[in-house]
């Protein structure tokens, strides 16, 4: 799915994301260990996500491999191949223990130039069109959040966030793409090191955003992907 050979930028993003998570978790663990040695856990420390501040803001930036479709295969046959990139913002509120609701908006893009095909080393004279696409989506989400490790004021938080909504996307080879809409459905798994009010970690996700192209012989364009992202945010309330 996440093909590091085809998408070297993804390989870099993967390494960076895991590195940041390890650093974050290590920092939280170090602080927690020091404090644990000095103090016994206070009975007032939250032990579940439901005892943490109920409002959360989550910001995500990452990329991923497009889902496999005929349209994607046609692009590959033409010499185009690149990861999609996406940034998201979400506001969530836990209202019953680990369970919450939220709203999310995302913006994504992909731009790629073709490689010569069929063993060719270069292109013949003439314009070389760049393929580019843009998409936005808005969705409602139902996050389930758990504290999987806890020492005083540091936690490791795991969240599963299914979501559904509506998306709009446009793809172009000549600066003339048409925006069309389609349903979107996805889920994200977040693993974050956090304090009471600040969190940072990584998110693995997958979603589909198929947008029919009624007059095209190339099939539906699916703006979905399997993604890896950095995620951070704060909690309040």
């Amino acid at each position: 799915m996440l093909d590091g050979e085809r998408y070297p930028a993804l390989r870099w993003a993967t390494a960076s994301a895991f590195g940041m998570t390890l650093l974050s978790a290590r920092a939280h663990a170090d602080v927690a260990d020091t404090r644990a040695d000095a103090h016994a856990p206070s009975p007032r420390d939250p032990a579940t996500a439901g005892e943490l501040p109920p409002w959360s803001v989550r910001l995500t930036i990452g990329g991923g491999a497009p889902v496999s479709t005929v349209h994607e295969e046609l692009l590959r046959q033409e010499g185009y191949g690149a990861p999609r990139w996406m940034m998201s913002g979400a506001v969530e509120r836990r209202f019953h223990g680990a369970l919450g609701v939220g709203a999310m908006v995302s913006y994504g893009l992909r731009t790629t130039d073709p490689d010569p095909r069929d063993g060719a080393g270069s292109f013949l004279d003439g314009p070389v069109p760049t393929y580019s696409e843009r998409f936005v989506l808005a969705a409602f989400e139902v996050p389930l959040t758990f504290l999987v490790a806890h020492q005083r004021r540091s936690w490791v938080e795991a969240s599963i966030v299914p979501w559904a909504g509506l998306g709009w996307g446009a793809a172009t080879l000549r600066d003339g793409g048409q925006w069309r809409s389609g349903p979107t459905l996805g889920a994200t798994f977040r693993l974050m090191g956090r304090s009471e009010h600040v969190a940072m970690g990584v998110a693995l996700g997958a979603y589909t955003l198929p947008i029919a192209q009624p007059s095209s012989v190339a099939g539906t364009i699916n703006f979905g992907m399997f993604s890896l992202a950095l995620v951070g945010g704060f909690d309040a309330g």
Binding site: V70, H71, P114, D118, G121, L173, A218, G219
Partner: protein, 192 residues
């Protein structure tokens, strides 16, 4: 060193240097140069209205809403596209392949994307301003998403090298010209 000997030495060095320079534009080891058309050749044909539809054939959108493609079938349909002659011209050192990127269409869904070779030629052919290719559905329901031309050029004979075929002997690759000449005039049927 006598002046005459020095002069001849310089001349020999210059000549040998020229031999080494011959390969500079063609990479090492006399590698052939392979170059292909960029995506968008079919769009150029559409922009220039250089196509004719027959039977069950429609112009449709291609990879994006701002590019073109052709739907052939269901049933018998054909499109004849006219390509700039200089793009498909060949000479004694150049071979050329024309291919089409096609998909099968079943109930409106595209499947099985693939390149189909339509024409191959090499050797000196009479020059034309345009060359027409006729693509037929052959009773199937297919989409033509792109055309592509790949040209392979051999480096010129190196007068300084000696090969088993002799000094500077011309080289040929692939099928002889006579076996493919008719392909340009005859219908090119695309089968799944």
């Amino acid at each position: 060193m006598p002046a005459s000997l020095r002069r001849w030495s310089l001349l020999a060095a210059f000549a040998c240097g020229a031999c080494f320079d011959l390969g500079a534009d063609y990479g090492t080891d006399d590698e052939p140069i392979v170059r292909g058309t960029a995506p968008g050749l079919l769009q150029t044909i559409c922009d220039e209205n250089a196509y004719t539809l027959e039977g069950a054939a429609l112009r449709r959108d291609g990879l994006t809403a701002d590019t073109c493609a052709f739907e052939l079938g269901p049933g018998d349909g054909a499109v004849t596209v006219r390509v700039d002659g200089s793009l498909v011209a060949t000479d004694s050192e150049t071979s050329m392949v024309v291919s089409a990127l096609v998909v099968d269409l079943y109930a409106g869904d595209a499947t099985n994307p693939r390149w189909k070779e339509l024409d191959y030629s090499e050797g000196s052919l009479p020059a034309h301003t345009e060359v027409a290719y006729r693509l037929e559905s052959g009773g199937q329901h297919i989409g033509v998403v792109e055309l592509g031309v790949t040209r392979t050029t051999l480096p010129p004979p190196n007068d300084c090298s000696v090969s088993p075929r002799g000094i500077g002997a011309p080289r040929r690759v692939g099928r002889p010209v006579s076996s493919v000449r008719g392909a340009r005039a005859a219908p090119l049927r695309i089968r799944p």
